[in-house]
Subunit: 139 residues, 2 copies
Amino acid sequence: MSDLLERLRGRGWRMTAQRRVVAEVLDGDHVHLTADEVHARAVAKLPEISRATVYNTLGEMVTLGEVIEVATDGRAKRYDPNAHRPHQHLVCGRCGAIRDVHPAGDPLADLPATERFGFTISNVEVTYRGICPNCAATA
Amino acid sequence: MSDLLERLRGRGWRMTAQRRVVAEVLDGDHVHLTADEVHARAVAKLPEISRATVYNTLGEMVTLGEVIEVATDGRAKRYDPNAHRPHQHLVCGRCGAIRDVHPAGDPLADLPATERFGFTISNVEVTYRGICPNCAATA
DNA sequence: ACCTTGACTTGGACTAAGTCTATTGTAGGC
DNA sequence: GCCTACAATAGACTTAGTCCAAGTCAAGGT
């Protein structure tokens, strides 16, 4: 693992035990943890890590573009380490499960110039909402 | 005005001064207020209305499908009364301004069956992010 | 018109998520 | 091995939203 760690080191990040732990927790595909979940898992590996540090570290990773912040439900933000392959999210409205998906087509192309109101558009966020098979079964 | 009020009455809603005021505040196009902003404007018309009532009323309107809840920034949710014409949002990353836009094409169609993982998809939310002309000018 | 009743409203306490700050600790260059 | 600037810490604070018990009132029945 961690491409993530390698890249961060390459950007001149000072490497600390805390940052290493946060990066490790976030590693993998289909990972969409809240800050609190990240903190809980980080504490398991490094008991004295503080909430503030987790927030700081996540915020820095987002600024560096290594992690994406996702606000699927208006509650806690989630952090998605899969920042390199562009993708969208599929969210279960009942249990909150999230999957990464890769639709065909480019949503940016679907927005005609007349609908851009002079904005300089930098990215698009697409969230598909529905019910996952699990929840549908136990409905 | 208020189609919104008419529709709500038609659904057997008990009409109270508070609900009328909230509906009035939300009326119009390109309206995307936070719950607190709705409360502030409601108070101007009906000083004794409480925060809890505003939250209750907004929640009911969302349940009835008359208003859409938008979580653009992970901060306060915004409420969009334009629930009948499907549309997406264009958000300025600097000042937070929101515009309704109407892209060509159906994003739902862009998600192949192989990428649906058995989910029953009910809707799609698309958010274009960028910088508005105003902010670009004063950069 | 008045009564009744259950739906609606209220304010304040409570929770969750996140930010800020002053202090202490430490990675990495010399 | 020592410095120093950057990082981590604890805990107070802020913001957004929910919950609840008690009071109020819209609307239907008579």
